[in-house]
């Protein structure tokens, strides 16, 4: 169990990549939400959330992902979870984070391949 939380945002041509490592909880969301608001253009269609290095997710993290899902909904895009496993994946499953606009892939590469194919 880590006691650090780190996130990175990268705007790519076809999607915004948000990479989390360590924990994703209320304290993370408090920092990440305004940064996302500022850094990710409103017209962004697809969001790739890389959770390969995340080891803990709570309901506040889920709330942040719902914000991204709403933006994807509005722009007819997808939210894609890459590399989610263990506790974070269990939480996403428990809250019913799925549906046509939600995709899960084992790695970032697989997620990118999916986005290229659905262009």
């Amino acid at each position: 169990m880590t006691i650090t939380s780190q996130f990175e945002i990268e705007n790519k041509p076809a999607y915004a990549l948000i990479r989390f490592s360590g924990f994703v909880d209320a304290s993370t969301v408090l920092q990440a939400r305004p940064v996302l608001q500022q850094q990710v253009p409103p017209a962004t269609t697809n969001f790739v959330v890389d959770l390969a290095e995340a080891d803990f997710l709570d309901s506040h993290g889920v709330g942040l992902f719902v914000t991204l899902l709403k933006r994807a909904h509005a722009n007819r895009g997808h939210i894609i979870f890459a590399g989610a496993s263990g506790q974070p994946l269990s939480v996403l499953q428990m809250v019913g984070f799925n549906g046509d606009q939600v995709q899960y892939f084992g790695s970032l590469e697989e997620a990118e391949k999916f986005l290229q194919e659905t262009k």
Partner: protein
């Protein structure tokens, strides 16, 4: 762009002990990650498997985050205790913040909120996650706690690490496909894999699955045959069923849709596609089951609803009652005989669906006993007969019930006996007072019996019976408030007085956290109609 948040280094983990204990003086979001790390160290030291440790850390996090986020008066004192008993943990988080309101009501909707993709709600998942993960979650506000602190308690009853996982049957005559699909799902579900559909049918009764995934084309018994065979077993028809087939055209065959199959997937199926469909169907099935259970609860509530005739001889009777949606259980019984009317007001203790079910079972039992006793016996004899019947009955002994039995005679006489029930009040023209009638809970008095109190009421006098749910709304001042109110309106009819007291109850019940059934009965002799 990146941002890094690093919490202060945490102290070295305490040596493994029987319990994890932390005392915090106030808490902020930044305090939670290091506490979670200390808890992780403790759980690892105790050999708790990762999946369960993750569940416990999530629940502790959710409770603490709530304590930071919501109470108008934040917690200054927080005690966290986690004790392991075998494979199970007992968590107790005590705090001195403003108590959560309407916890029981929130629990009822918490599960339904776990549908992020459909609701698109950006919050409100915390309590549902706690309830989904654990066998029991309870909340006791500080005013009901002996130590003056709020207590959030979580308890588990796992008999194995796989407890709480939904169970899936995978059926496929191709061992490679069966293994591949099992590997796609085994981290989330308890998998039972069958190469032969007949074995799946045999195993169904012994370990009923939450969902079946079956190949369509198999020798001897194909997928449709399996679906039909399971449909004939108890619960088989309502178990979600998914077909897997390499033949995409089969999806549209009439015989498939007639079988009531929940989904059809074409082989080869992608891991995430399979996981998404299984997750969606299990959640949908759970929602349907909860909906049906809610309807059942409502029917039980309606069946138990207390009722008495509004007059008997020279008596006028008013009854006001309110049922908690799921929990407790007040009910009445009455029977008129040539000489009197015998009545019972009973209150089965507890909250939640289980208590409602116990009330229903108890009401049925009491009704039978009551029919036998009400002709010949008096209220004390009825309660003694009840105590004797309970003595040695494991089910009845496990349920806490208070009971007031009273007998109205046409010309104003009344006989009363009480088994752990709040004492009644008598209202006369010059004021109101408590009637001294008391007795032990039914389970405690099989030999000693009960005292019988008899009174003769004058014209205009009234007697008030109330259950704990009604009195609790007035907090510790309940009895004196009611005595004062009833005494100052002694001239009112039973119906008017009941309406006044009920209005006062409605105004005071707002601060109640665990809603219970509430009932008052006012029996007035003669006087103004």
């Amino acid at each position: 762009m990146s941002a890094q948040q690093t919490t202060p280094p945490h102290p070295a983990p305490a040596p493994a002990s029987s319990a994890f204990k932390e005392l915090l003086t106030g808490v902020t979001y930044d305090d939670i990650p290091p506490l979670r790390a200390r808890l992780a160290d403790y759980l690892r030291g105790q050999g708790v498997e990762d999946a369960y440790a993750g569940m416990l850390m999530l629940s502790v996090t959710e409770v603490l985050t709530n304590l930071v986020k919501h109470p108008p008066a934040p917690a200054k004192h927080i005690e966290i205790r986690l004790r392991l008993q075998g494979k199970n943990a007992l968590i107790d988080i005590a705090d001195d913040s403003t108590a959560f309101a309407d916890f029981d009501a929130k629990c009822k909707t918490a599960f339904a909120r776990l549908d992020a993709a459909a609701s698109l709600a950006e919050g409100g998942y915390g309590l549902g996650l706690i309830m989904k993960q654990h066998s029991q979650a309870t909340y006791t506000p500080m005013e009901k706690s002996p130590d003056g602190l709020n207590h959030f308690r979580i308890r588990d009853a796992r008999d194995a690490a796989v407890a709480k996982k939904n169970r899936l049957f995978l059926v496929d005559d191709d061992p490679i496909a069966l293994k591949r699909h099992a590997e796609m799902l085994e981290d989330l579900y308890d998998i039972a894999a069958f190469l032969n559909p007949f074995d799946a049918v045999k195993a169904f009764d012994g370990g009923r699955p939450d969902l079946v995934v079956s190949d369509l084309n198999m020798p001897d018994m194909d997928g449709t045959g399996l679906r039909r065979a399971l449909s004939e077993l108890k619960g088989g028809n309502t178990t979600p069923f998914i077909f897997l087939s390499a033949d995409h055209a089969s999806e549209h065959a009439d015989y498939i849709s007639e079988l009531g199959v929940d989904d059809f997937l074409t082989k080869p199926v992608a891991r995430e596609r399979l996981r998404n469909v299984v997750s969606r169907l299990i959640r949908r099935s759970l929602q349907v089951r909860q909906g049906l259970e809610g309807k059942f609860q409502q029917e039980l509530t309606n069946t138990l609803k207390p009722a008495l005739p509004d007059r008997y001889g020279g008596w006028r009777i008013a009854l006001m009652t309110e049922a908690a949606e799921a929990g407790g259980g007040d009910f009445t019984l009455h029977q008129e005989t040539p000489t009197h009317m015998m009545c019972v007001l009973a209150d089965v203790m507890g909250h939640g669906e289980q208590a409602k079910f116990f009330s229903y079972a108890y009401a049925g039992y009491l009704r039978s006993l009551f029919r036998l006793q009400s002709q010949a016996g008096d209220p004390a004899q009825f309660l003694k007969a009840l105590s004797k019947a309970i003595d040695g009955d494991a089910f009845l002994e496990s349920v806490i019930l208070t009971c007031q039995s009273f007998q109205l005679f046409p010309k104003g006489a009344i006989a009363i006996a009480s088994a752990g029930h709040p004492a009644p009040l008598i209202v006369r023209a010059d004021g109101a007072e408590t009637v001294a009638v008391a007795g032990p809970l039914p389970v405690l008095a099989s030999e000693t019996g009960y005292a019988l109190k008899t009174l003769q009421l004058d014209e205009g006098d009234k007697i008030i019976f109330a259950t704990d749910g009604f009195l609790d709304a007035f907090d510790t001042q309940g009895r004196s408030v009611i005595l004062k109110l009833a005494g100052s309106h002694a001239h009112e009819t039973p119906q008017a007085l009941a309406a006044l007291l009920w209005q006062a109850y409605g105004e005071n019940r707002k601060h109640l956290h665990a809603q219970d059934d509430a009932t008052i009965i006012i029996a007035g002799y003669g006087g103004q109609l």
